[in-house]
Symmetry: C2
Subunit: 359 residues, 2 copies
């Protein structure tokens, strides 16, 4: 079986960690023997944009549609305003490919440590999976500017929440919670200050909860949620939040688990009509780009999730093997600087490839 992968390395360390991830994916396929990957590489980047004036060509979505999955590095570079790069590449893909679920697991890997004192004794106290609404809300893309270049300029951002959009993400979140040992879902909102979309979000949550009597559920305000994440990590398991809230909380979660460099994400179209997209949650990191020192763990973990998704239940063992290889490597202390190690990208990648052969 051949999986067709659209690879979009993008900018900065995105290109470095995508290369590393492909090496690891190919090793995994070779060891497994039952499948292989066929990549199409797309040079859709800020560098290309500066040269030719566009990120994706007009038929970009059609090209992506011919693949089984998309592997994404990172986008964003100082010489292009961020809202231009993102709205010409990553955000349209999430939307056009109907990737309405963004899954962001967080835990403390062996051999690494949380900045929280309370997690030192037992790292398993922090084990979350954040389900992010990925298609609407604060990222709906609407809003505008009036009286531009005047002292009276007014600019707006319009967050749009639909019952359909909320209900599908809530169901996905309850299903995820149900599939995990603790069967516990925490829903995040800001319905005290935001009286329309956020109140609908709450309402649909409680409605959907009735279909999942076996899942314990509770509600948090987004500000108080950050406090709970810091003070009581063990009290949470699965978390569901809006596009913006989950964006913020998943970065915080990654930091609390040790480093943003390890955190993976899966942008899923659960209907499987479009390819899903897998990407580490870190950015292009201009400060360390080109030095070969980026942490590839978030990229590998994202690759493991891609294998799991593509396998539809049949490659879980293979995905687990990759996760085990990653964990053996961090445990052995082969780690980049962000994890208090002194290995570079290549060393970590080679160590993971070696582990794949033996685990």
């Amino acid at each position: 079986q051949t999986f067709k992968i659209a690879s979009i390395p993008g900018d900065g360390i995105g290109t470095e960690i995508t290369e590393a991830a492909i090496q690891v994916l190919d090793k995994l396929a070779a060891v497994d023997g039952s499948f292989k990957f066929d990549y199409t590489h797309f040079d859709w980047s800020s560098k290309a944009y500066k040269e030719r004036g566009w990120y994706m060509p007009p038929d970009g979505m059609d090209q992506l549609q011919k693949h089984d999955a998309i592997y994404f590095g990172a986008v964003g570079w100082p010489d292009v305003p961020d809202h231009i790069s993102l709205w010409n590449l990553i955000l349209p893909i999430r939307k056009n490919m109907n990737q309405y679920v963004n899954v962001r697991p967080t835990r403390i890997l062996p051999g690494t440590k949380s900045p929280l004192e309370s997690c030192q004794a037992d790292p398993s106290t922090l084990d979350w999976i954040i389900i992010r609404e990925n298609s609407e809300g604060e990222y709906a893309g609407q809003g505008g500017t009036t009286h531009e270049n005047s002292p009276h300029t007014i600019a707006t951002e319009l967050a749009i929440f639909s019952r359909v959009g909320i209900e599908r993400i809530m169901r996905y979140a309850f299903e995820t919670a149900r599939s995990r040992e603790r069967k516990k879902l925490t829903m995040v909102t800001k319905s005290n200050a935001q009286r329309h979309g956020m109140v609908l979000w709450d309402k649909v949550f409680y409605e959907v909860a009735e279909d999942y009597p076996d899942v314990q559920h509770d509600k948090m305000l987004v500000d108080a949620m950050t406090v709970r994440m810091v003070n009581n990590p063990a009290s949470m398991d699965t978390i569901v939040a809006t596009n913006l809230h989950a964006d913020i909380l998943s970065d915080l979660a990654a930091a609390l688990s040790g480093s943003i460099g390890i955190a993976p994400s899966s942008n899923l179209d659960p209907t499987r009509k479009h390819p899903s997209m897998f990407e580490p949650i870190h950015g292009s990191a201009p400060d360390i780009a080109g030095k070969g020192v980026a942490n590839p763990v978030g990229a590998f973990w994202s690759a493991a999730e891609m294998v799991r998704w593509l396998g539809q239940g049949k490659l879980d063992g293979t995905a687990d093997k990759l996760m085990q290889a990653i964990e053996n490597v961090t445990k052995a202390g082969v780690k980049t600087k962000d994890l208090a190690g002194n290995s570079n990208t290549k060393e970590v990648t080679e160590a993971v490839c070696r582990e794949i052969e033996t685990v």
Copy 2:
């Protein structure tokens, strides 16, 4: 000199900590001798709302306007939907009283500790002041619902940013940064995903920065900001952010500094045409309300800021005295449970009153 204070204890522990704060304020005035407080107590609470159907009477704002400052406890109670309580009390006050600045200082008090391992050796590494835009943005109060009670419901939240609103908060933030030793301002935004209001926010920041060449400034995306707060607290000093972003970041800041129970806030009308409002940032805490165990430190710190504001430079020593009293008490280990102590509200209050007499 008599300062007329409108006291709104509100709900839950709000009533307990307001009582404690008034005790401390009166003690401070007595020891100082140059001023006293004259309070009007308003029973604007969720309990009253349940009984009579309203929080504030129609002339509520006029009544507040007759005071020099407002002291606020907390609002919100499980039997009233949060968006009803907040939009009938705290949010209209912030808006009608033109309190467009919300100041939220955070540091680790003596005798208390941060949950971050990296702050253990030197607690002074975490010393921030968050300047929150308090009048518009995500709390503009607009938005609505279409197709209510239908499977196709659409609900929106409209964030509104005005050049006037952004410019005044940026100036306040730069002035604050300039007044502090490190002269450093970090501006938070999400202008990569939100292309209108957030882009204007960025633009005005850089324009205003030109008037403050002596203040070092940088820009962070709100998600990455949480990572920096966890990983590198010493790299920041003054922070400016939108209404929602600063709401989230200030709760996180409080948690990282030891407890949400110590965090103060000042809702300021810098034009002084309306009374400013002082309140701890914690909520009504239904879980511990009525037990006499709430941490009054956030309330005392807010009271110190009120004295400073009312004094217009002439009572800074008195405000400092209250801060010193608080710090002596935490240092001596007279602390509530959230700070790993075993004192109750009354014990902490009495200890602070005693210190005021001697410091």
